[in-house]
Symmetry: C3
Subunit: 150 residues, 3 copies
Amino acid sequence: MSTFTLENEAFAGLVFYGGLCLAKTTAMSTVTAVYRFAKGSFPSAEDAKVLTKDPEKRKRLLQPNEEVERTRSVHRNDLENVVPFVLLGLLYISTNPPAATALTHFKLFTGFRFLHSFCYLIPLPQPSRVLSFTGGYLVTLSMLYRVLTA
Amino acid sequence: MSTFTLENEAFAGLVFYGGLCLAKTTAMSTVTAVYRFAKGSFPSAEDAKVLTKDPEKRKRLLQPNEEVERTRSVHRNDLENVVPFVLLGLLYISTNPPAATALTHFKLFTGFRFLHSFCYLIPLPQPSRVLSFTGGYLVTLSMLYRVLTA
Amino acid sequence: MSTFTLENEAFAGLVFYGGLCLAKTTAMSTVTAVYRFAKGSFPSAEDAKVLTKDPEKRKRLLQPNEEVERTRSVHRNDLENVVPFVLLGLLYISTNPPAATALTHFKLFTGFRFLHSFCYLIPLPQPSRVLSFTGGYLVTLSMLYRVLTA
């Protein structure tokens, strides 16, 4: 039986939890877009041009906004963490880990990641963000260890 | 027969169209480098040091340039969209979608992505960029739906 | 025999060298965190809040620092290069390249990437960073060529 099929419980877990984390990551594009309209802060001259004819207002629409930058940071943080997680997940599956161990890794990572975004966006007082970040990071390191010693 | 072989038409499609999108993404490094030299705008002190001995010119070489920042935004936008697309593509293939459906997804995404970069770099008036972005985004969501319900 | 198993020497090489490059990429989070504390430069208001009660010091803790931005650039550069490399690596393996050729690609890329981070972080005088970047880039292009012509 091939390792990379949905009949392999560990791989099916990666498909589901990896998919969930990627859904969360790409959803940040929508969150950023909503904040851009809510706060009136856009990245490029052609965006301001289509929204108003007033040159003064156009300038204001191109000012960076703290909350928009925050959603972009959450997005970048996901790219830095979710993408390596899914890639390592695929390499990790090839080492045939016990399904229960693999699923625990995937569930923990997913939980910590959602918690991290939650802490970052609200934002909750530190060290909540640092702790949820570190949780997901340790899961990644554990998978990395198995991948490199396989 | 294994799912992840080139004999599987859907997977062969991902290899080609995913490869094409990744080619476009990494090509942005070259585009950015060309703009950096054309506009004289570099990221680090050691870059300016090797280009001129004049301290005034060095300072000017380290000023950010609007068009360089634009190519970097296109690159970042690709990382935010192409990378999840290829990762989801691999998970999606494991759900054994009909080859024709899979190919339509991959072709549409690739078309929208190239269009998006084109709109962003020229730049064409809005909402051209928003529409091409949304097109690719919806394709990703459709693949995501199949992955999460598999 | 399936292509994506550790018995396939080329794939085992991707698991090891791809894992090594991803380890290096995620390690940049830790390097950045160390620099943030060493230089006293943090990204968000809630970070400063937990570190000091003095409003003046809080403001200073939120100023960007050149060396912190440098480690973040190294991290972004890895995301732009390592992630496409591992993704292309997976597509490339599906084209059944000779194991020796594949391993040479993976080893060269890994070498150039570690060299690049080294040049960027120290920093060594240019063109050391440009050359190590270009080396890894050419390896990626060679893999890309095989993927697109498969």
